[in-house]
Amino acid sequence: MTSAPTPEKDDGAGLGLRLTLPAQVLVLFISLFPLLMQLYISLTDWSPLSGMAWPRAWEFWNTFANYLDLVSDDRLWSALGRTALVMAVCVPLEFGLGLALATLFVDDFPGKRVAYSILIMPMMVVPAVAGYMFFMLFQSGGPVNDILSWFTAEPVSIAWLSDPTLALIAVMAADIWQWTPLMFLILLAGLVGVPDDQIKAATLLGASPVQRFLTIVIPRMKTIIVIALAIRCIEAFKIFDTLYIMTGGGPGVATETISVYIYKITTQDLIWGYVAAIALAILLVLSLLAVWAMRRMAK
């Protein structure tokens, strides 16, 4: 770009600016004001219950009390820990199941199209609806226990959603059900794209299927695997819809993830100054994470 500008380059640079402008405007629009407002109210005890509009939040100035509260807010930390647990369990399982299924779908077999169509169905079910369905499925007199009783040959009445551990398992099961299909789809796209000739070559050299898979297929798919995992990690971190409808974060706080916690203190406790402090803290951590990830990707 240091060479003397030619008319064509001008055309390109100008067009580039124009093409990126809408996205830039949208990003600025959604970042600038929210960031400033959050910064401002995070330094106050202002709440919509205080009887004043937010621009007058300075009357409730508390310097850094909200940020100090963050450190000692056990509920916040356990919500973060729980969110991490959900991610740590769900994402690898979804990836593993998705990859396993995808490998079974690489070559043709009778019934493939039908099976494929059914497997991606959960993606088409609105998560809120899935929440209501899973709520019913996991009732102690509900279908899941009914199916279990076919195997145990006696009535099963596990109170899934009343027990802290079982409730967490139930919401994770719902998440895995809903999102494994996306993993399957992306990974299948990746597997199909691995050139046959390389695999054939490896086969001729006497590589076993497992070796072929690990040494040729996986490395070729590295980028796609990273993208698939990244998408799911990002979305799983924000897990809310299905979980909230199934358990409301309960029993107690047993399934309270970070989004559920923030939702509750936003709409119920209405401590918006504190919510802003949490939001900015999360933003800071996630931004550092994003910068680090971008650097890694650039390498």
């Binding site: 005890d45 919509p48 219950l49 009343s162 909230y244 309960g250 029993p251 107690g252 209405l270 401590i271």
Partner: protein, 531 residues
């Protein structure tokens, strides 16, 4: 929260089905009035017509209803108002839109016919009333003239500036809420408790959620049970006077092998803590308060830990699913004959002790009792709890504040309210003296129950309804749930809840909270029963 109201499907079924059958029966022949003619009685300017006994609900010009109608007509005549937007829980809309009894107009029709002002009802999902109200207030959307949300939010909403102070309207239109014969229980003090915050009127009560205790008369009267019980515990089997007796009787009747639950007062998230309240506030004479007068929380104390320990221990005579049971399961289990005692909204006998309810096996077998208590300082302290109770509030953004207030005055007045609460189509429960003596209401809710509810009201402590209420209750609720699920000990739960309360007080503003705590003391009962 949606899920808080949702429940285990298996039981929901029975409960729901019986609720329906009950309601169907209520609509059916018992009150199919002959259409006695459509005219108002002499001297009356308005009120329902078309059913037997309708005259009792008609009003003259010099009544709260009459003044409300005349005022609204004048506003309409002056071209100041055409429509009032009323936000209302989905489940309560029926009481305004369904005619009751047969032959009568609906409440909405009657108002619209008499004043010419349309009511637009905007349904709010159950459990989201407050969220939607705050959304309207904090964004300045101004979508409603009237919010109806639970009474506990009165202080929060008044402090937010989102609801209008109604003092001037009250002075002008004289709702007579403190009327000695038909007004609120406790007169002016009752009005202060239900409608006022820090000395001003902000709401109009449209509900009476005084939690009331019921038991199975057939079980308690069974000679064999009586003999067995006496042999085991050394005293007669009768409705319990103390918590100790309640727990013993509940344990006695708790028979998991027969599907029988000793007691089913709720233990779930969002509701259960009201039953903790009853155990805690009865710990001192006349009351064990939640806060000292200087605002210090009193729950992290020997009393708090003891109440919590009892509350958790009592799970042993509850259903194994108690932690997820809401009222539909509770009602279902009671109606199926599987519960010996429970504490519920006052409408339980309306649905379950009902000849028309073929799904209920407890018809004619339900009795009411006072809340259990404790012997403290030479007296028996029995305490129930007032919680939730839908209350109408006028939006500060409303351009029709006066007409909106008049609609609330009309709805909440002796004649219209009794007529409305007798209607089975919604959640509004009786709370006025006039309701307790009203023929339709007493038929719907039963004589034995109405008398006991009235006695319960006199022993009822208010839950928190001043600024910070939501946050205080959530903190308490979450810690009690942690104790129930074994995640925390009673000591830990009380210590943590207490810490959170202190934090909430700081955020809400100590002066504000302390003033409200002092003011709310007046609403606490002083009645002490003899031992």
């Amino acid at each position: 929260m949606i899920t808080r109201r949702m429940t285990r499907r298996g039981f929901l079924g029975t409960g729901a089905q019986m609720g329906i059958v009950g309601a169907g029966a209520l609509f059916a022949p018992r009150w199919v009035g002959q259409a006695w003619g459509q005219d108002l009685a002499a001297g009356m300017i308005g009120g329902p017509t078309g059913f037997d006994g309708c005259e009792a609900y008609q009003y003259g010009p010099d009544t709260p209803e009459g003044r409300a109608i005349e005022g609204a007509k004048a506003l309409k005549g002056a071209g100041k108002v055409d429509k009032i937007v009323l936000g209302l829980s989905d489940g309560s809309i029926g009481q305004l839109t369904q005619p009751f009894p047969a032959g009568a107009p609906s409440i909405k029709e009657l108002w619209e016919r008499e004043t010419g002002i349309t009511i637009e009802i905007v349904g709010l999902p159950n459990g989201q009333e407050f969220t939607k109200t705050m959304q309207d207030i904090s964004t300045g959307a101004g979508g409603f003239d009237i919010y109806s949300t639970d009474w506990n939010r009165l202080g929060d909403l008044a402090e937010s500036g989102g609801i209008a102070k109604l003092d001037d309207f009250v002075a002008q239109y004289k709702p007579e809420w403190d009327d000695g014969a038909s007004g609120y229980v406790g007169g002016a003090q009752g009005v202060a408790l239900l409608n006022q915050y820090r000395g001003s009127t902000y709401g109009v009560s449209l509900d009476g959620d005084f939690q009331s205790w019921v038991y199975r008369t057939d079980l308690f009267a069974d000679p064999k049970e009586q003999a067995d019980f006496k042999a085991k515990h050394g005293y007669d089997l009768a409705p319990p006077k103390t918590w100790k007796q309640l727990d013993e009787i509940a344990a006695f009747f708790n028979r998991p092998d027969k599907g029988m639950v000793g007691c089913s007062d709720l233990r779930n998230q969002g509701w259960g803590y009201t039953n903790w309240y009853q155990r805690f506030t009865s710990m001192a004479n006349p009351n064990q308060y939640l806060f000292a007068e200087d605002g210090t929380p009193l729950i992290n104390s020997a009393e708090g830990v003891a109440a919590t320990t009892e509350y958790v221990a009592s799970l042993s005579h509850h259903s194994p699913d108690a932690i997820s049971w809401g009222w539909p399961e509770q009602y279902g289990s009671f109606g199926a004959g599987n519960t010996a005692m429970t504490c519920a909204f006052s409408n339980l006998p309306k649905f379950l002790d009902n000849a028309g309810n073929t799904g209920s096996v407890v018809t004619g077998k339900v009795g009411s009792m006072l809340p259990p208590g404790r012997e403290v300082g030479g007296g028996l302290i029995r305490r129930s709890v007032l919680w939730f109770s839908l209350t109408g509030m006028v939006s500060a953004q409303s351009k029709n504040a006066e007409a909106a207030y008049l609609l609330l005055q009309w709805l909440g007045s002796a004649r219209i309210y009794a007529w409305m609460t007798a209607n089975p189509g919604g959640y509004f429960d009786p709370f006025r003296l006039s309701d307790f003596s009203d023929k339709l209401v007493r038929q719907t809710y039963h004589d034995y129950h109405m008398d006991m509810v009235r006695e319960t009201v006199a022993r009822t402590v208010p839950t928190i309804n001043y600024a910070g209420a939501t946050a205080y209750h959530n903190a308490l609720d979450e810690n009690l749930m942690a104790a129930l699920t074994g995640a925390k000990t009673a000591e830990q739960a009380m210590a943590d809840a207490s810490d959170e309360w202190a934090k909430i007080t700081r955020r809400t503003g100590e002066d504000k909270v302390i003033e409200a705590i002092k003011a709310s003391r007046a609403g606490w009962p002083t009645l002490v029963d003899p031992i």
